[in-house]
Amino acid sequence: MVGSDRLSEVMTTIAKPLKYQFKAMNSPCEVQFDCNDAALAGELGRLAEAEAARIETKYSRYKEDSLLSRVNRSNGRPVPVDTEMMALLTYADNCYRLSEGLFDITSGVLRRIWRFDGSNKVPEDHEIAALLPLIGWDRVVLGPDNITLAPGMEIDFGGLGKEYAVDRVLMMLAAKTDVRILVNFGGDLRVSGPRNDGSPWRISIESVEENRKTEGMIAISSGALTTSGDARRFLLRDGVRYGHILNPLTGRPVMGAPRSVTIAAPTCLEAGIMSTLAMAKGRDAEEFLRDEKLAAWVLR
């Protein structure tokens, strides 16, 4: 499953917060500081950029010498990993079990056959069947300080890397300053508290419809917000629209998924995982969100 590709635009009220912007993890990133101290904003912004770069260097599938890529090249041999990566792999393992297989970081290989470019090229059954044996977190062996993937299998942190980065950056910066901050990496965002005057940060949700710019505003005073969405990445064949959320258990897209799910939760990781899970429930997304008593917005 891949994450959001849309930017929620942060609208500001009276005094504009200072913004520090950069690019990381293939997304536009920014940290907003509700203060006038440009030097502080610059210093903390650079820290945020450095931490985002550190996470990307270590866990990006696209970087050949990242720890993650080393694992993907291991061809069946155990690869030793450090405390942080082991904690993330353990987290992925917990999410796999909690979601009963719907969240699976080994499912990335499906991108080899599913290309959501708006065309009608839907893979054949035999192509899907050929890839299924290479998917399945239960096939991965997690040792006390190493990981072993069967040859041909791959892992990627697409469903948690950016959210983890937002949480880490926010927690690191919040430990260093009382200034109210907002961290937004490509639409996955989290705030350290309400703005200085006590008012919430205002976030606008981008519309899924062509002719509307925004679907509305969300006011957030604490915690995180993430959006999983369907709008531009799909396949259309024989009048059937295939959304880009894939089910790792079947290798096929989830049918009846909402166009977009936005979730608010205390941390970005929780919001991200839950919005991914909600999308994966397809037609049952609203029921799932109701059962979990989540603050969520669903667009169909």
């Binding site: 909690l98 979601s99 719907l102 006390p144 880490r168 927690m171």
Partner: protein, 458 residues
């Protein structure tokens, strides 16, 4: 896609816990509402150095023992999981202590050797209470002490200072295996004890189970002042026996198990075998007239030179909100015939956001050693072993205690403890022969102890 009923509606709550776990593992603590400072994760993990200093004051009733004991420790939790720790303790004891003789309706004189050299002759005051006399036959200096009528005889002017050091090193062999080595030494004027041990601890089941096994070897040297008496020797005279030694080998095995998220249980078994000198060289047993109960003479005690001990311990910690209920019990049995049962209960109660108070109670009951006797009779043959040491008597003990701690800030913890300890006779009261039912033979103790200290983490 059907939701299984087991997880229905609870995925978010579990995910919250899992996410918090991820952040604490990678070194970032959530800035969330923590109700009490003692709910925060313990700081006995890598990257911490802890220095701890405390002082304890102990005092028994009836002018018996008083002690003051300062201690200091330094522990370094290295980033790689290794732990190095050193602790120094000193204690200074003074006061009087029962030495095994029974009380009598008239004053009793006790003679023991002394090396005090004074210019004067008879009638001079000895260094530690009592009178120094010269034996007319051997010309030896002898200390004569007198116990008042109807009172438990006490060894007066007892004074001793002790210093001890403990060193410990834990090596993390793998993320779930730790091996620990420790070395200890304790030195006082008339006694030295040295020991070394090793143990290994292994985690299972995602660290919810820990099994540990350890062994220890201890070597003790008893260098009684003025020589070690032969068992059953009469109380007086000079003794030529010098240093006596004892070897103790012990092993423990234990398992700690997290039963539910809020409940931790521990089970331990320990075994010990001691061989060598185990008498208390200062303690005697009175030999009494079987009809009147009058003391005839006093003999130094005699204990076996082998002792095997077994103990089983179970402990439980249950958290309810920020409160923790602690319960434990121990069953003990040894080859000298002592069986004991110990039960402990205490409640950790959070106070405000930074402190806690922990009232507790301990109940203890032990049976007497096979060779324990308050006295021997002059018309009976000497048994193989005999001791009147009140530690080997049959008694109950209750401790009422209160502990507390206060986190001054993230790094400094202040703590204090106060205990009241009371021993009472269990079973049939000891009775002197003759018409002496009013004399109390039980030499158990009542004591209070208080301690205060500070822990600093950086």
């Amino acid at each position: 896609m059907q939701l299984s009923n087991r997880n229905k509606g609870r995925i978010g709550a579990t995910l919250c816990l899992v996410t918090a776990n991820l952040f604490s593992t990678t070194g970032l603590v959530q800035a969330q509402e923590v109700q009490n400072a003692f709910d925060e994760p313990a700081t006995n993990g890598p990257g911490n150095i802890i220095m701890d200093g405390a002082v304890m004051y102990y005092r028994e009733n009836n002018s018996r023992i008083q002690a003051i004991e300062p201690m200091a420790s330094y522990t370094d939790y290295a980033d790689n999981g290794d732990i190095f720790s050193i602790k120094l303790t000193a204690d200074s004891l003074s006061g009087a202590s029962p030495f095994g003789a029974t009380p009598w309706i008239a004053p009793q004189n006790f003679l023991s050797p002394t090396s005090v050299t004074i210019s004067g002759d008879d009638g001079s005051t000895g260094a530690s209470g009592g009178v120094v006399v010269t034996d007319p036959v051997t010309q030896m200096k002898i200390l004569q002490t007198t116990a008042k009528a109807n009172e438990l005889p006490l060894n007066p002017g007892f004074q001793d200072t002790r210093g001890a050091a403990n060193l410990s090193y834990t090596k993390a062999l793998a993320s779930r295996t730790r091996v620990t080595f420790n070395l200890n030494g304790s030195i006082e004027r008339d006694y030295q004890s040295y020991s070394g041990g090793a143990s290994i601890a292994q985690d299972f089941n995602n660290k919810t189970t820990t099994i540990s096994v350890g062994v220890n070897y201890q070597h003790d040297l008893s260098k009684r002042l003025y020589g070690t008496p032969t068992p059953f020797a009469v109380m007086t005279g000079v003794f030529t026996d010098g240093t006596k030694s004892e070897n103790i080998v012990s092993a423990t095995a234990g398992i700690t198990q997290v039963i539910t998220r809020n409940w931790l249980v521990q089970l331990n078994y320990s075994y010990e075998r001691a061989t060598g000198y185990q008498n208390n060289p200062y303690k005697v047993i009175s030999v009494l007239d079987p009809v009147t109960g009058a003391p005839q003479r006093y003999l130094y005690e005699a204990r076996p030179d082998k002792r095997t001990r077994n103990a089983v311990y179970i402990g439980s910690k249950l958290a309810v909100g920020s409160f923790v209920t602690n319960l434990s019990a121990r069953y003990y049995h040894d080859s000298w015939g002592i069986n004991s049962i110990t039960a402990n209960a205490s409640e950790h109660i959070p106070i405000g956001t930074r402190g806690y108070i922990e009232p507790g109670v301990r109940y203890y009951h032990q049976s007497s050693a096979d060779f324990f006797n308050y006295f021997l009779l002059s018309n009976a043959a000497l048994p193989q072993f005999a001791s009147a040491d009140n530690r080997l008597d049959k008694f109950n003990a209750i401790t009422a205690s209160i502990k507390g701690g206060y986190m001054l800030n993230d790094q400094i913890e202040l703590y204090a403890m106060a205990d009241y300890y009371s021993q009472t006779k269990a079973g049939t009261k000891g009775l002197l022969p003759g018409n002496n039912g009013s004399l109390n033979l039980f030499a158990g103790v009542k004591a209070i102890s208080v301690m205060t200290g500070v822990k600093y983490r950086f």
